[in-house]
Symmetry: C2
Subunit: 194 residues, 2 copies
Amino acid sequence: MPRRTDTRQRVLHTAAELFRRQGYQATGLNQVLQEGGAPKGSLYFHFPGGKEQLAVEAITLAGTELCDTIAGVLASATDPVSGVDGVVRALADDLVRSDFRRGCPLGTVAQTTVDNDAIRQACAAVFETWRRLVERALVAGGVPEDVAPSLATMTIAAVEGGQLLARNQKDVAPLLAVGTQLTELIRAHLREGQ
Amino acid sequence: MPRRTDTRQRVLHTAAELFRRQGYQATGLNQVLQEGGAPKGSLYFHFPGGKEQLAVEAITLAGTELCDTIAGVLASATDPVSGVDGVVRALADDLVRSDFRRGCPLGTVAQTTVDNDAIRQACAAVFETWRRLVERALVAGGVPEDVAPSLATMTIAAVEGGQLLARNQKDVAPLLAVGTQLTELIRAHLREGQ
């Protein structure tokens, strides 16, 4: 008999994947349970707060996983220009591999849950974690400290929008253009910092 | 008795507004008809292609309206730096006025309709119209022609992502940071062009 924690984790991963592809409203609880291999009606046993709790936990899980990926790419790069370039390329590869179905794990959910404070804040917390990661890499690489917060926000925003345009066109070209322009912008700020 | 074209236009505007706020899946046809003041069951009379046709026409309408706004702001600016800055500020004002409910008229729909080719292409056509508008303003202002297409894509992507982050945080700060960084980037390219 599968352990309770296994089922819970499986449901959570399935939910994260479905929210990512379809958004919040379009994802039904029965679909999550069925694809997660959990018995019908078991959702409130694992998630007493229902769909909202499931979404908050799924977003946090997917956000943390992507955070680890971003941190790994940034840490293995020699400077913030190649670091941001590496992150953009990794995301572009993900889009191609999933035939443009898997975009940002938060983008779709965040667009459609502005009126749900719990989910909105869960998304905001993940966006802020990513932003700080980028900000730290920029400062470590020599971007002036007064510029880094705004440049990091720009990086997250542009990459989000780039993924949206790439999914919409089923072509990574817009995301790669964003990568080119972002690295150009970081270089300009690095010159200022010298 | 209201004319048929009045009802049709009213339904279309209502649909554009609801898709913009809620996305495609979360918007029901009954809600559109009710809020648009059209008789229940009259949708297929006005839109024989159903919800998909309604979405395609609503996106095109909302996209064209915003296009006129963007074109107006860009045309009244003396250079592309103040033009893009003006567009960002106009969008930020819109967000505040709607208490962050009205973001980009396409963003939410585009995120959730990657698998619907008709709607996907309607969104792509509008994004491309906006991109070309920005590209023309950049070239007219002195940005090198080989850079302008990619810089225009970056502008659309960053502004999309900036609106998403601003709605998610219920604060225009991320969108204004995008504006600051975009104008910085355009200035860097203008220096190159000299």
